[in-house]
Symmetry: none
Subunit: 228 residues, 4 copies
């Protein structure tokens, strides 16, 4: 029935509207500067309506994270071609970051709110914890984490990375570093945020990490990340 379809579609659209408005407000005012009232106003809805779509503020925030993260992951997977080396995949990963970081501030959102949602991450160094903690292994943070960890592991296998490094530690280090930087960015007053500088800084940091885990004797010029 058409009417049923339309209702369903409207519901999805309205949910997307709320998410979109919330993200904009979060970017503008930071995580502690946004109230349900603000969101309702921006979305031109009533506060009550928000609760029809999200059981609580926390859930609304969580969903923003999930949605943004899964969009990134999807994007990354569409870019992957079989037969890529670990190094190539890492560079591709970085390129995807750049694309999405340029296209939207979603990355900032994801990471700046992670604390809110999964405060203990990444310091549950044993993968098993994720599950026992009630953290769903299909949840984005875990996917991010395993994605990176597996690339590092692959690189070790290919002889690019030092077999003495622990892929889990490296993945957590990269995520920590990245998280921290975007969090700080998210907290900067908007006019000060300068994507160029931020990206350059992160790139520099990541290159240091790559050199730090590279097998001795690898040509260092191979470890440079692509520019924007």
């Amino acid at each position: 029935m058409g009417i049923h379809e339309r209702k369903k579609r409207e519901k999805v659209e309205r949910k997307a509207l709320i998410l979109r408005c919330t993200k904009e407000l979060l970017l503008e005012h930071g995580i502690d500067g946004v109230s349900m009232q603000d969101i309702a106003k921006k979305a031109e809805l009533s506060k009550g309506t928000l609760y029809l779509y999200f059981p609580s503020k926390e859930d609304l925030y969580r969903e923003i994270c999930e949605e943004a993260a899964s969009r990134f992951i999807t994007y990354f997977y569409t870019q992957i071609r079989p037969g890529l080396s670990a190094l190539e995949m890492i560079k591709l990963h970085w390129r995807c970051y750049l694309d999405m970081f340029g296209a939207s501030y979603d990355m900032i959102i994801i990471f700046s709110m992670k604390h809110y949602i999964a405060p203990a991450f990444p310091f549950t160094p044993f993968e098993e914890n994720f599950k026992t903690e009630g953290a769903d292994s299909s949840r984005s943070p875990y996917i991010f984490y395993t994605m990176i960890r597996d690339m590092i592991q692959q690189g070790i296998g290919e002889g690019t990375f030092d077999p003495l490094v622990n892929a889990g530690v490296v993945a957590r280090t990269m995520l920590s570093l990245f998280s921290y930087i975007v969090e700080n960015v998210a907290k900067m007053p908007e006019p000060k945020r300068n994507a160029q500088i931020i990206i350059k800084e992160v790139k520099h940091s990541f290159e240091i990490l790559l050199r730090g885990i590279a097998q001795e004797g690898i040509d260092r010029s191979l470890l440079l990340l692509p520019d924007i």
Copy 2:
């Protein structure tokens, strides 16, 4: 005058009590989960009394940071001996972290509240910003930053570190990484925190960074940090 002395001492003790209780609550509930009421209750004082010792909540928090940070800095400076190489100083620095991290959770506090106090740090990549931003160059975060940056710079001069790396970026990377980890630790529910694991993880991360900035050809075993 015994009586005067005692009063003075009691005042100092009471201030210390408030600081101690606040730190414990911060560690337990995180920076947004502690109210003046909570602090008063824990210290078995009235809310009004807190305001006798600290003009505002912000000042109370600031004092906790300053005090803990300056304690670390002082400690570090007492350990320095003239003629140490950059690498030796970095290892010493790490050893001091370990000492204080083992002795108390102050390090966690310092960094978990840094945001509260210097939110834009470390993403003001040019040192000049610190001053123009109204950030006092004598304030602890700046001292931490310059301390590390100068050690890296010295290491470049000594041929230990790659002259192509930017000492400022490295210092910011190390602080970011460390900040992030302790922030996350601070947010963990207390029973889960496991100092052993945390330290091992940070150590591993830092060693990766050190390898990443080392001059090619340096003996990698020299870049290992001391264990606890």
Copy 3:
């Protein structure tokens, strides 16, 4: 749409309820003796609800003043007939005071809170000040003032009042006197207030003022104000 109408009406009524309760409390306890809690309690609402209707206590108070003052001004303007002499207008003005003073204690409210809102009045003896001070010339105190001043000025033109008197000073004197009296009344414990006596006293004072500014030779019996 009945339902929409009713909601709207209820909202207006609730706002009126809050204003009414606040006025009663102000009359009972004076401007410094009323808290938002008191108002909420009297209106049988929660504190939070008050803030749905008024953004701050100050705004609530301001609205009370504006509303009462503009009611008086409107009333006065409906009573004016073209061609009235200055003396007739002054008597009409007085009659309007009596009407409203008998009908409610609003007049008391207006003046007893004037300080809160325009503290420097009437001691900015030059009209220009009103504007430079940020005082909106459309705000009630200014309208009150100019209304009286212009009547006096008209009376000078008509030969009723002494051309040597400064209409501005006279207007300020009358307002000062009236203000002071109602302020004092507002501060009296309620059972003591005796409208009859107050009005008689003010009337007497105003008649003295009128005689004081009358042109010499005017028949003094013309300067008597109407009784209640």
Copy 4:
């Protein structure tokens, strides 16, 4: 005994110190802007000590009024010479105001705080009330009031003032007017207070009052008050 004398003298001096400091603070910050803490600090005493000299803040304030008022009254009585006409006495009274208003801001204090202490004054139009109300007839407000009332009454007897006016009403009118003006002055931020303008305004108002109560046919130039 000398020691007893000294103690007594010190006590009086300390009390005077507290009163002096309080007055200065009141003039600077207004009646709602001064706390016991402020007073203690300014007097370089402890808060507890204030309570040794005054049972409550209210009493401290009351005493300031009494003291200032009685100083004025004393001064006025020293200036009176026998045989003065009512008009001469009124002019002398005004001159005394000018003297004290120039010499100190005590007048402001007296009147700006009167409300605090004797809120019903002057609207207890029957003299008897003063006594029945528990208001001590020797208390300054009453003396001020009777002083003026008696001068007016004398003037009526001398044929200067209109026998139809009620001396009590006139006295209350004058006090009301004066009170109101100084109250407003007291509330002005200090830099704006301009004694010259204030005095000119009050003088103008009082002259209107004098003309308003003068017997018809009196030479109006006799009713002008002396300039500063």
